[in-house]
């Protein structure tokens, strides 16, 4: 079966971003960019399913500016077979991304779409669920285990109270949680080979999707600063402070 994997270009997870002083946005000049960590897990899962013989082809898709090609090439180096870039300079929000992905799904007809559970920049946690709604597919969100059997997939989900197992008819949308797998690194020969793999480019207009934002960001600002704390010398002083100063125990 064919699998579609969505990947997003985001600020590297180790970078501590700061809002611009005028509040118009986040300062992304000269900041290291990478594949969203949850999307890496999604690629890894697709590659493992291919190695098990369940999946025959992996298509990696990204939406955004031309530079998102870098992240698609990384996905290709990790084992995806070909890439699709939906190129746009507009800020695309989850609902628009889901509509674009739906259009790609209609072209490619994959049996499964794997996405990360959330992108670490917008922290929305919406796109997979929205894509499932628009395509009418079942959804296995926050997946920590994925087992394909015939026409269905059994997904173990990480939920607030522990874990939940659901059985979904294919085609289905799966979103990855942290503990689904440990993503591999791309080897140098695979990075070289990835340069030769096909990468198609299309636009939202080609796909007939209106990507006008529905939500406007009026302002961004840093969170309230915490007052500087103190270091205590020993446990006795800590207990004293908590009892008499902070009055929390």
């Amino acid at each position: 079966m064919k699998v579609l994997v969505a990947v997003k270009r985001v600020v590297d997870y180790n970078v501590k971003v700061r809002p611009k002083s005028d509040g118009t946005g986040v300062d992304l000049n000269n900041v290291k960019m990478a594949i969203n960590p949850f999307c890496e897990i999604a690629i890894e899962e697709a590659v493992r399913l291919k190695e098990k013989g369940v999946v025959t082809e992996i298509v990696a898709v990204s939406i955004g500016a031309k530079v998102c090609q870098e992240q698609i090439r990384t996905a290709l180096a990790l084992g995806a077979d070909r890439g699709i870039l939906v190129e746009t300079d507009v800020e695309v929000q989850p609902l628009a991304i889901a509509k674009l992905l739906k259009a790609v799904v209609e072209k490619e007809e994959p049996k499964m779409v794997i996405l990360g559970k959330q992108a670490i920049d917008g922290d929305n946690n919406q796109t997979g669920q929205m894509l499932a709604a628009l395509t009418g597919m079942s959804q296995g969100t926050f997946a920590s285990e994925v087992v394909v059997e015939g026409d269905s997939v059994t997904v173990t989900r990480e939920v607030d109270t522990g874990s939940q197992v659901v059985k979904l008819a294919l085609p289905a949308v799966v979103t990855t949680d942290l503990r689904l797998n440990e993503p591999r690194y791309a080897s140098l020969p695979n990075i070289m080979k990835a340069k030769k793999k096909p990468l198609d480019t299309m636009t939202p207009e080609d796909l007939g999707v209106d990507v006008t934002p529905r939500v406007t960001t009026l302002k961004v600002e840093p969170p309230a600063e915490r007052q500087a704390g103190i270091k205590v010398a020993d446990v006795a002083e800590l207990v004293d402070k908590l009892k008499n100063e902070a009055k929390v125990i």
């Binding site: 559970k117 669920q129 709604a133 009026l218 600002e221 969170p223 908590l242």
Partner: protein, 309 residues
């Protein structure tokens, strides 16, 4: 404007996060209706009717909504939600699973994990692991929103007297089914609602050493949390993870033991009122947010703290 809230419940009772979501709805202003969708969920609906500020409860009791599968519940929310100006749910795993699906069915955007209501169409929400607070304005006719429970004070669970109406419509998408659930059992308070939280990280070295934290937590009436490192190492189950991708907590007192304080962990606890860090590395980033820091070996400090309480 009228507001529909998708309740977080277990068929028998209403979960605390629903009370915080009602508080967010009151901040928006308008008639508040709570939807309880489940199977055999009459008791939860009765409990919802007693919540302060709730005007009406819709009880959708049907086999299709058992285990609250997103494929089915989202169809119900989209059908009922057409008549409301706002659809809210707590940002629990259940709310996060179902609400975006309902939003897409209604062709509207969702605003995730709001931390404040600025006006009828403007909200604040954290992005980039809480390092940036964005003020966002929605232009959609129906505003679909998940609420970060720790950012709103819960309304009273008693005192209301709403009417309960049965909802007959049964939606079964027929493409998903529940298999089983493994619920982590704990006698301690719920992590997201506890007034004191004691968390352990990689520095705990193994799962057995968490017994020290359980003992300390029992004396403080605290819940026990963990960093991603502790969960990934298999010390404790994943439902104990505090952070950007785990649970968000904001207790009166948060004690971080053997936790370095990565950005992703801080995202889940830095709104705690008082933060205590116990770590032997005096340069650990956790000390930058801690009100009281103790540079010490946790294996000496934690038992000493335990015995001095």
């Amino acid at each position: 404007m009228s507001i529909l809230i998708l309740a977080e419940h277990d068929n028998a009772s209403i979960k605390g996060a629903t009370l915080n979501t009602v508080a967010a709805a009151k901040a928006i202003g308008g008639d508040i209706t709570v939807l309880v969708a489940g199977e055999g969920c009459g008791a939860a609906a009765e409990a919802a009717a007693k919540i302060e500020g709730v005007g009406k409860v819709l009880c959708a009791d049907n086999a299709a909504y058992g285990h609250q599968l997103a494929e089915n519940v989202s169809l119900l929310v989209a059908e009922l939600g057409k008549d409301y100006g706002y659809i809210l749910a707590p940002a629990t795993t259940n709310g996060k699973n179902t609400l975006p699906r309902a939003a897409a069915l209604l062709d509207v955007a969702q605003i995730s994990e709001i931390i404040s209501v600025e006006s009828a169409d403007t909200f604040k929400r954290p992005i980039y692991a809480g390092n940036v607070i964005a003020t966002v304005q929605s232009s959609d006719a129906i505003k679909v929103i998940t609420v970060r429970a720790t950012a709103f004070d819960a309304v009273a669970a008693e005192g209301g007297s709403a009417s309960v109406e049965a909802v007959a419509s049964a939606h079964d998408a027929g493409n998903s089914s529940y298999v089983r659930e493994e619920v982590a059992k704990s006698d301690r308070p719920d992590l997201t609602a506890a007034s004191v939280v004691v968390s352990g990280g990689r520095g705990m070295q193994n799962g057995d050493n968490f017994a020290m934290l359980y003992s300390l937590a029992d004396k403080l009436g605290a819940a026990v949390g963990a960093s991603r490192a502790a969960v990934d190492a298999g010390f404790v189950p994943n439902d104990m993870q505090v952070g950007q991708t785990g649970k968000i907590v904001a207790p009166g007192l948060y004690i971080a033991v053997g936790i370095s304080g990565a950005i992703q962990h801080l995202a889940g606890m830095k709104d705690s009122k008082v933060i205590v860090a116990i770590n032997k590395d005096e340069d650990a980033p956790i000390f930058q947010v801690a009100d009281y820091g103790l540079v010490a070996d946790l294996f000496d400090a934690v038992p000493e703290l335990d015995s001095s309480l």
